[in-house]
Every structure is written in C-alpha cells, then in structure tokens.
Amino acid sequence: MKKIVIMGCGRTGARLASMLDAAGHNVTVMDVDAYSFRRLSAEFKGKALVGNGIDQEALKKAGIEGAEVFIAVTQGDNRNIMAAQIAKHIFNVPRVICRIYDPLRQEIFQTLGLETISPTTIFAEIMKQKVEG
C-alpha cells in the first residue's frame, strides 16, 4: 500500500484516484473545484480535498510530507510542472509524476529531471499505429 497524493480531479485524476483506491492504496485527491469530486467512484474511500496544488500549505494539508507518490494531472501544463517541482524539491517526495500535454515542454522537463508523460505524444503514436496497422 502506498500513500499517494493526486492533484487534479478531472476525468484522468478521478479515474486514477478511484482505481488506486480500489487497489488498496491510501489516496488523497485535491482540486480547486469541489464540484469535480462528483467524478470519483461511489466506492472511493480516500480523501478528497479542496486546494491548489501549487500552494505549499495546501499540499501540506493533503499530506504531501508523508507521501510516497505525487501525481500532477490538472489541465494546466505549467501548473502541473510547478506542483511537481514543489513536491520534488521542497517536500522531497520520492516519486513524482507529471502530465504535460505540450510534447516540447514535456521533453525539456524530462531532461531537467522530472518524470513526465505527454498524452499528446502517446495518443498520436497509438493513432498512427492504428492507421498504419
């Protein structure tokens, strides 16, 4: 069981939080909009917290200090990058994963030491394979 903090409860964040919770992890999901928590599964037993992930106080409230994993999946690339860098450099979270839509930005921040994923690159690649199939 891992202690995981997820920032952003959109479709991806909510689904991921629900899946990790069902798998028995200790999950806290945060979002600036309480209305977004409606997306969590009915069985979700973790914590849902209103707060901004680029605010260090809010991250502390979400339990970032004891977290083993931090995941940034809001809609904003820059917001995700900054929150991930706070988690990594200020709170020394051992594993930090960050979504960056913009492939160029993703590449650069990957080389700067963040663990990043660009759904744009991955999805385009899958589509290409399907077409060329």
């Binding site: 690339d77 990058i81 900054m82 200020i90 913009d102 930005r105 921040f109």
Partner: protein
C-alpha cells in the same frame, strides 16, 4: 541589451517603456491579442502575440540571443516555466521572475532562476519599516555571490550605541558600508567610527549571518 519580457500587463508594459527609453532592444510576448495590439500601437511594434511558455514562440522571439529574460505574468507557474525554458533550453544567462506568493521564492531559486521579484514582500517591507521593532530591511540581493544589502536602524538602548565599529562583534562576511545620520552627510564607516542611536546602517551580509548582524547592531 536584448531583453525579452513575458506578459504585457501593467508591469510588463511600463518595464518595456522604461527599458526602451534607455535604448535597449525590447520584445514583449503577450497572449491576449487586444493587449498586444495596444502595446504595438503605443510603444511601436515591440510586442509579439504568443505563449511565452511555448518553445516555438520563444524560438521565434530569438530567445537564444537574449541577454535577459523577464517573466512578469500574473501567475507564478507561468513565470516559473517560462524562465526555466529560457535558462535551460535557450541558455539565457539572466532570468528574472515576478512571483505573487512569497513562499515560492525558495523553489524558484533552487531551480536556477536568478532573481525573483515579489510585490507582496516589497509592500510588507515598507509596512514593517515603520514598525519600531523591525529588525532589518532587505534592500537588494547580490545574486552572483549570495550576499545581500540590508539596512539596520540602531535603536536607543542598543549595546552598540557609543561603540566603535572595530569593537562590535560583527559576523564574518558582514560589512558595514554606509551610515546615514539625520541632518548629516552619509558617513563611510572606518574601524574607529562610533555608532549613535538612530543611525541607519547599510551593510552587506550573507543570508546566513543576517541574524548575527542584527544581534550585533541591535541587541540591548
């Protein structure tokens, strides 16, 4: 110098204007088309429309040849990312970011941004300067060697009053550089200069010995 400014709001606009008056080459990157157009009408075609966090925009702006890169949008995360791109992708030697949340200063410095300017702190310092117990005012940072210029006011009843500079237990790495006295010319202190109550002392210090400097000058 070629200076790129990200964000054409109030701060960016007047900064550009001041830099143009000093004959610098200035480019503003602004996302909002209406704001970009106003700037171009009023300051001459110095504004390009685009996202200062996008590599392509920065490439078109000639960021690689910029001497200085200043990010002054209203959002800390945009300023952080823009400055990191300028620094690491385009090797701009000097990057300056505006921050709104004073707590972000540590992170920005850790990530290699040279200077952070924070309106909240500036206002706070002006407020606390008026408070008699206020210990020390930060005037300026010298980012290249981690030193800072501070101002300390010598209070009535401080143990340093009546003492010569050489007899103060100043921490290593701290240096008194100027003493400002009411109705007198500023004095450049030497070893035998005696401190008086009410003196404003301008000193250079490292952040680490700031507290020791304050104690040496103000403790009763």
């Amino acid at each position: 110098m070629y200076i790129i400014i990200v964000g054409g709001g109030g701060v960016g606009y007047y900064l550009a204007k001041a830099l143009l008056e000093e004959d610098h080459e200035v480019l503003i990157i602004e996302q909002n088309p209406a704001i970009a157009e106003t700037i171009n009408d009023e300051l001459g075609g110095i504004c390009t429309r685009g996202d200062g966090c996008e590599v392509i925009t920065l490439m078109d702006a000639g960021t690689a040849r910029a001497d200085m890169f200043v990010a002054v949008t209203g959002e800390d995360q945009h300023n952080l990312v823009a400055c990191q791109l300028a620094k690491h992708k385009f090797k701009v030697s000097r990057t300056i970011a505006r921050i709104k949340n004073p707590k972000n200063a540590t992170l920005f410095k850790k990530l290699g941004i040279n200077v952070t300017i924070n309106g909240t702190d500036v206002i706070l310092e002006h407020i606390t300067e008026e408070v008699p117990t206020h210990p020390l005012t930060h005037l300026m940072e010298l980012p290249d060697n981690g030193m800072e210029v501070v101002e300390v006011k010598i209070p009535v009843g401080s143990a340093s009053v009546g003492k010569a500079v050489k007899d103060l237990s100043l921490p290593a790495g701290s240096m008194l550089s100027l003493i400002i006295r009411k109705d007198q010319k500023p004095v450049v202190p030497v070893a035998t200069t005696v401190l008086l109550a009410g003196d404003q002392v301008i000193a250079v210090t490292s952040a680490a010995s700031e507290e020791a400097l304050r104690a040496a000058l103000r403790a009763s």
